[in-house]
C-alpha cells in the first residue's frame, strides 16, 4: 500500500526500491475514482500518467540521474495551460478548448519529471470563494461534505486534502490559494507577484494574479517554488531576481520580528474562536523569544473595495478575448448582426459571477466614473504599499488570519455577493501589495473544521517566509 508523506521520503523510497512511480500513480488514480463525488478533478490523464510513470521507473532503474520532481504526482488548476490538454477556467465559454502550448510553470515541472495527473475544478475564471461558480458543478470539502472547500482553487485544495495527488497548483488573485488551503487544512503559498511566470495562466486580474502551490509540507511547497520561479522571456512582468534553493535552507534558529494588526483581530466580522487562537499563538511566539508587536493599521476597510474595483477593471478587459469569434463557445445563431453575436455568445458562455464582475469592471473604467473609482482605488493600493513597506522596515512578517470564518456551508453565501467579497478581507492585501503570503494549517475549530494562520513577508523574501513556516509547522 502506497503512502505519501513528503517528496523527500517518496524519493528515498523510490531509490530504495520500496515503491515505484507506477504504484504511486495507481494509488492516486484509485483515490480519484473513489472520491469522484467530491468533484475535484475535471479531467484525469490516467493513461498518460501510467505511461509516464512506467518510463520514469525504467529510467531510474537504468541508473540515470532522476529529476528533482521525479515521479511527483501533480494536479493543475483548470486555469493553467498544458499543451494538448483541455483548459477552460471552469467556464462554458471555453468548452472543449485545447491549449496549443504549456504554461512556463508546467514546462518547468515536466522538465524535472513531474507527472501531471489531471486538471482541477475551480471557480469560473478564478472568481469566487466557494468553488460553487463552476461550469462543472461545485466541489465538496472532503472533511465535511456539507461545506465548501473554499475558492477559487477549491479543486486544487481538495486534491491535496483528500490525497488525490502529492502537490497541486492553484492561482491566487485575492486569496484563491490561501483561503481554500485554510478551509481544507493544508498549506497554501502565494509567492511574490512576478516570482513565477504567468505565461500560460489564464488571466483574471493581471497585476494581481500569481500561481500558487498547495502541499502538505513546507519542504514540498518550497521545492516546487524553486523549480517554477524565475525569469521567463514570455512574461515581461516576471522578476529576474535570482531564485534561491528555498528547500535547502528551511532550517533556522533565528528569532524573528512579527507585526500584527489589532484592527484585524478585533474586526466585527471575525469568528471569536479564530481571533482567540491567533492571539494565543502570538503569546506563544513571544514566549519562544520572538518579537511580536501590534502595529496600527487603519486601511483595513478600504482594501476589499479597492481590490474589487481594480481586479474587476482588469478582468473586464482580460475577458474581452472570449468573444466567440476565434475559439470557444459561439452563439447557436451565428447569422445575427455583430453586436448581437457578441451579446448572445458572451451571455450564454459566461456564468453569473463572471458577468457580474465584467459589468462592474466595465463600469469603473467608463468615462465619467474612472477617476471616482479606478483612480481612487489605485491611490488606496499605493497607500497600502507605502504602509506595508513601512511595516517591513521594522518587521520580518505580518501575521493575519487567513479567513475570518471556517469553511462555509454550501450555498450559504451564494445569495449575498457583498458578504462573500468581505470574507476576502485578510487575503487581498498581499495581492494588492504584491508580497508573498502563506496559509499554515495550525488550528482546529470547535465546529470540527481546520483553519490557518496567514504569514506575509516582504517582496521576494520567500526564504524567510518559508523558514518561519517550517518553524511554525514543527
Amino acid at each position: 500500500m502506497f503512502e505519501f508523506s513528503s517528496i523527500e521520503q517518496y524519493h528515498a523510497q523510490l531509490l530504495k526500491g520500496s515503491t515505484t512511480c507506477l504504484q504511486a500513480v495507481e494509488h492516486y488514480l484509485q483515490g480519484i475514482e473513489a472520491t469522484k463525488h467530491l468533484n475535484a478533478f475535471i479531467e484525469i490523464y490516467a493513461d498518460e500518467a501510467i505511461h509516464q510513470a512506467k518510463e520514469l521507473d525504467a529510467k531510474r532503474k537504468s541508473g540515470k540521474q532522476p529529476g528533482k520532481l521525479h515521479g511527483v504526482v501533480v494536479g493543475l488548476k483548470d486555469v493553467i495551460c498544458y499543451k494538448g490538454h483541455k483548459v477552460s477556467a471552469a467556464s462554458a465559454i471555453l468548452n472543449n478548448f485545447t491549449s496549443l502550448y504549456s504554461a512556463t510553470a508546467v514546462e518547468r515541472l515536466i522538465a524535472e519529471e513531474a507527472i501531471i495527473i489531471g486538471n482541477l475544478n475551480c471557480d469560473e475564471f478564478a472568481m469566487g470563494s466557494t468553488n460553487e461558480n463552476s461550469a462543472y458543478g461545485k466541489v465538496l470539502n472532503a472533511l465535511d461534505e456539507t461545506r465548501v472547500p473554499g475558492g477559487s482553487s477549491g479543486g486544487s485544495a481538495v486534491a491535496v486534502q483528500a490525497n488525490l495527488c502529492m502537490v497541486s497548483l492553484g492561482s491566487d488573485t485575492g486569496g484563491s490559494v490561501r483561503q481554500p488551503a485554510d478551509f481544507c487544512g493544508i498549506i497554501g503559498l502565494k509567492p511574490t507577484y512576478g516570482r513565477i511566470s504567468r505565461y500560460g495562466l489564464i488571466a483574471y486580474a493581471s497585476s494581481f494574479d500569481q500561481i500558487g502551490i498547495f502541499g502538505n509540507t513546507v519542504a514540498d511547497v518550497s521545492l516546487l517554488l524553486e523549480i517554477m520561479a524565475g525569469a521567463d522571456e514570455f512574461d515581461s512582468t516576471v522578476s529576474k531576481h535570482e531564485v534561491p534553493a528555498y528547500s535547502k535552507q528551511l532550517k533556522t534558529s533565528k528569532k524573528f520580528r512579527f507585526a500584527y494588526f489589532n484592527e484585524a483581530l478585533n474586526h466585527s466580522g471575525i469568528d471569536k474562536e479564530i481571533a482567540e487562537a491567533i492571539k494565543k499563538r502570538i503569546d506563544e511566539l513571544k514566549n519562544e523569544g520572538h518579537t511580536v508587536q501590534a502595529v496600527e493599521f487603519d486601511l483595513l476597510d478600504y482594501i476589499v473595495p479597492a481590490y474589487y474595483v481594480l481586479t474587476t477593471a482588469e478582468a473586464s478587459s482580460n475577458l474581452s478575448r472570449f468573444d466567440g469569434v476565434k475559439y470557444g463557445y459561439r452563439t447557436k445563431h451565428p447569422g445575427v448582426e455583430l453586436t448581437e453575436f457578441y451579446k448572445q455568445s458572451r451571455s450564454a458562455g459566461f456564468g453569473k459571477e463572471v458577468k457580474r464582475r465584467i459589468m462592474l469592471g466595465t463600469f469603473v473604467l467608463s468615462a465619467g466614473y474612472f477617476d471616482a473609482y479606478f483612480t481612487r482605488a489605485q491611490k488606496v493600493r499605493q497607500l497600502l504599499k507605502d504602509k506595508t513597506e513601512l511595516v517591513f522596515s521594522q518587521f520580518d512578517f505580518i501575521l493575519l488570519p487567513t479567513s475570518p470564518v471556517t469553511a462555509f456551508k454550501a450555498v450559504e453565501k451564494m445569495g449575498d455577493p457583498i458578504a462573500m467579497y468581505l470574507a476576502d478581507i485578510y487575503t487581498v492585501m498581499a495581492n494588492l501589495v504584491g508580497i508573498p503570503a502563506i496559509s499554515l494549517p495550525l488550528f482546529s475549530h470547535s465546529n470540527g473544521m481546520p483553519f490557518g494562520l496567514q504569514v506575509m513577508a516582504n517582496a521576494f523574501d520567500e526564504v524567510s517566509l518559508l523558514q518561519v513556516s517550517d518553524t511554525l509547522m514543527t
Binding site: C81, F97, R198, S236, T237, S320, K326, T362
Partner: protein, 490 residues
C-alpha cells in the same frame, strides 16, 4: 449636360481649409510588436499567427525592442522630445479582427512629443508641427469579399508594430497635405523604419478636415476622412471634402462631427459614423507590460545611427557640389538613389555630369525596368569610369549613353574603355585625323562655305554635324568646332 444641374455659387475663397493628418506607419521589424511572428506582407492568410497573436488564453505580450528603437528614430529625425518613461495602455473595444478585445497602444505617454516636418510649396518652406508619435499594434484584416455570406478574418497583420504620427492642424490645402505626406513617406524610407508602401497598407493616412472663414481663429467642426490609400487620394479627398464642407456653410447648414470614408472611384466621401456613436475605449495602463525607461545612451546611439536626411543632403549638394536645387531634389527623392550618387562622386569628380547621369540614363533604366536603386547592376566605380571617359573627351555622351551603357548593363564585368576601343568608338580629337574629314566636308559644301563667309554663321552647326557623321561619331564635337572656326577664317 443633358439635364438641369443646380449650381452652388459658393465663394470658396472666403474660407480657409484646416487639416491635420494621422499617419500610421508599419515598422520594418522582423517580428510583431509583442511576439516572434513574422510581419511579412502577402503570406497565406492566418499563417503568421501564434497563440500570442490570436490572443489565446494565458498568453502575454513580450516587447519588441527594435520597434521602440524605430519610433525613437522617427522622433529624433523630426526633432521631437523623446519620452523616457513610457508605458502602454489598453484601448478596449470589440471587433472581430482585434484578437484580444483591446488594442495595446500608448494613450497618455506617447514616446515622442512635438517635432516638425518641413514641406516646400513653390519654393516656399513651411513647418508642419507634430503633436505626437506613439507606438501601437495593428489589428487583423476583415475580408468582406471572399465569401458571399461570411466575413473572413486574416490575423497575419494583427500585432504588427505601428507608429502613429499625428500632426497639428497646420496644413491648409490638399496640396500641402500631399507635400507633407510625401515628406513623411520619404523620411520613414530614409530612416529604413517603414517601406512607405501605401498600396499594401504599410503607410496609412486619416485626414481631419475643417473649414473656417479667413481670419477666424477658432477651428470649425472637424470631419475625419478615412480610407485614403495613396498620396494622391489624400489630396483628392481633402479637396472634395473641404468643398463639401464649404458648400454646407454657404447654404446655411451646420457641419456635424463625423467619420467619413473616401470613395476614390466616385471621388466623393460618405459618412460611416457620427460622433454620438463614438466608443468609450476605457483606456487603462496595460498591466501585462512593465513600464519601460529609455536611457540616454540608448537614445544617443539611435541618434548616431540616423543617416543624412534629404534636407541636409539638398543643402550639401547645392552648397558644396554646386548643383541646382532641382538636381538636388531629384537626387534625394530616394535614399538609396542619393546614396548611390554619393558613392559615384567619390570616383567621378565632375559632380554636374555625375548628377546628369543619375537623373538621365540611370533613372530611365530604373524606371523602365521597375527596379530599385539598390538593384542597379553597375557599381559606382564602373559607372564613374564611363563618366570619366566622356569627361576626358574620349567618347561622346551619346555614344556612352546609347552604346556603352547598355552593353555594360548587360555585362557588368566589362570595362567601358575596352569596349570603346574594341568597337572603335574612341572619339578623335587629333587634328591629323579630323583635319582630312573637315577638308572633305568643306569641299562638299563649298556653296555653304561661301554663305558662311558672307555672315551666315549659323551654318557652323551643319558643318560640325556633317563632320561627326562622316567620322561615324568619333570626332570630338568640341575639337571639331574649334578646327572648323579656324579653317573657315582663312
Amino acid at each position: 449636360m443633358g439635364y438641369f444641374c443646380p449650381l452652388i455659387m459658393a465663394d470658396y475663397s472666403k474660407y480657409e481649409v484646416v487639416i491635420g493628418l494621422e499617419v500610421h506607419a508599419q515598422l520594418l521589424t522582423q517580428s510583431k510588436l509583442f511576439c516572434g511572428d513574422s510581419i511579412a506582407f502577402g503570406a497565406e492568410p492566418n499563417t503568421h499567427v501564434s497563440p500570442i497573436t490570436l490572443g489565446h488564453p494565458g498568453t502575454l505580450p513580450r516587447m519588441n525592442k527594435k520597434a521602440i528603437e524605430f519610433a525613437v528614430k522617427m522622433g529624433l529625425a523630426c526633432g521631437s522630445e523623446i519620452e523616457k518613461n513610457n508605458y502602454f495602455a489598453r484601448k478596449n473595444y470589440f471587433y472581430p479582427d482585434l484578437p484580444k478585445g483591446y488594442q495595446v497602444s500608448q494613450h497618455t505617454t506617447p514616446i515622442c512629443k512635438g517635432g516638425v516636418v518641413k514641406i516646400k510649396i513653390a519654393d516656399q518652406e513651411k513647418e508642419i508641427h507634430l503633436t505626437r508619435i506613439h507606438l501601437e499594434e495593428d489589428a487583423g484584416k476583415s475580408l468582406h469579399d471572399v465569401d458571399a455570406n461570411n466575413t473572413c478574418i486574416d490575423y497575419n497583420r494583427a500585432g504588427t508594430p505601428l507608429i502613429e504620427i499625428v500632426s497639428e492642424p497646420d496644413l491648409r490645402s490638399g496640396e500641402e497635405a500631399f507635400a507633407y505626406l510625401t515628406e513623411v513617406r520619404k523620411l520613414v524610407r530614409y530612416l529604413e523604419i517603414c517601406d512607405g508602401n501605401m498600396e499594401e497598407g504599410s503607410l496609412r493616412c486619416d485626414a481631419n478636415i475643417s473649414v473656417r472663414m479667413h481670419g477666424e481663429t477658432k477651428l470649425g467642426t472637424r470631419v475625419e476622412v478615412k480610407n485614403l490609400n495613396s498620396v494622391r487620394n489624400v489630396k483628392r479627398a481633402i479637396e472634395v471634402e473641404s468643398k463639401r464642407l464649404i458648400e454646407i456653410l454657404e447654404e446655411g447648414g451646420t457641419i456635424i462631427q463625423q467619420t467619413r470614408s473616401f470613395d476614390a472611384n466616385e471621388n466623393t466621401t460618405f459618412a460611416i459614423r457620427d460622433k454620438e456613436d463614438a466608443d468609450d475605449y476605457r483606456y487603462f495602463a496595460e498591466p501585462d507590460l512593465t513600464p519601460f525607461h529609455l536611457k540616454d545612451d540608448f537614445i544617443e546611439n539611435i541618434r548616431a545611427s540616423i543617416p543624412a536626411l534629404p534636407e541636409q543632403r539638398i543643402k550639401d549638394y547645392t552648397d558644396r557640389l554646386q548643383l541646382s536645387v532641382y538636381d538636388a531634389a531629384v537626387l534625394t527623392e530616394e535614399r538609396s538613389f542619393s546614396d548611390y550618387f554619393e558613392k559615384l562622386i567619390q570616383h567621378a569628380t565632375n559632380y554636374k555630369s555625375a548628377a546628369n547621369w543619375m537623373s538621365g540614363p540611370v533613372k530611365t533604366w530604373l524606371n523602365e525596368n521597375n527596379k530599385q536603386p539598390e538593384e542597379f547592376p553597375l557599381s559606382a566605380k564602373q559607372l564613374s569610369s564611363l563618366i570619366t571617359l566622356v569627361d576626358a573627351g574620349k567618347v561622346s555622351f551619346s555614344i556612352a549613353s546609347g552604346k556603352l551603357f547598355p552593353q555594360l548593363l548587360a555585362n557588368p564585368t566589362l570595362l567601358p574603355e575596352q569596349i570603346a576601343t574594341e568597337q572603335n568608338l574612341i572619339q578623335e580629337s587629333d587634328v591629323s585625323a579630323i583635319g582630312p574629314v573637315i577638308d572633305s566636308v568643306l569641299a562638299k559644301f563649298a556653296d555653304k562655305v561661301v554663305e558662311y563667309k558672307k555672315g551666315k554663321k549659323g551654318l557652323l552647326a551643319l558643318f560640325v554635324g556633317e563632320v561627326i557623321k562622316q567620322s561615324k561619331g568619333k570626332a570630338d564635337p568640341k575639337k571639331t568646332n574649334e578646327l572648323l572656326i579656324e579653317k573657315l577664317k582663312s
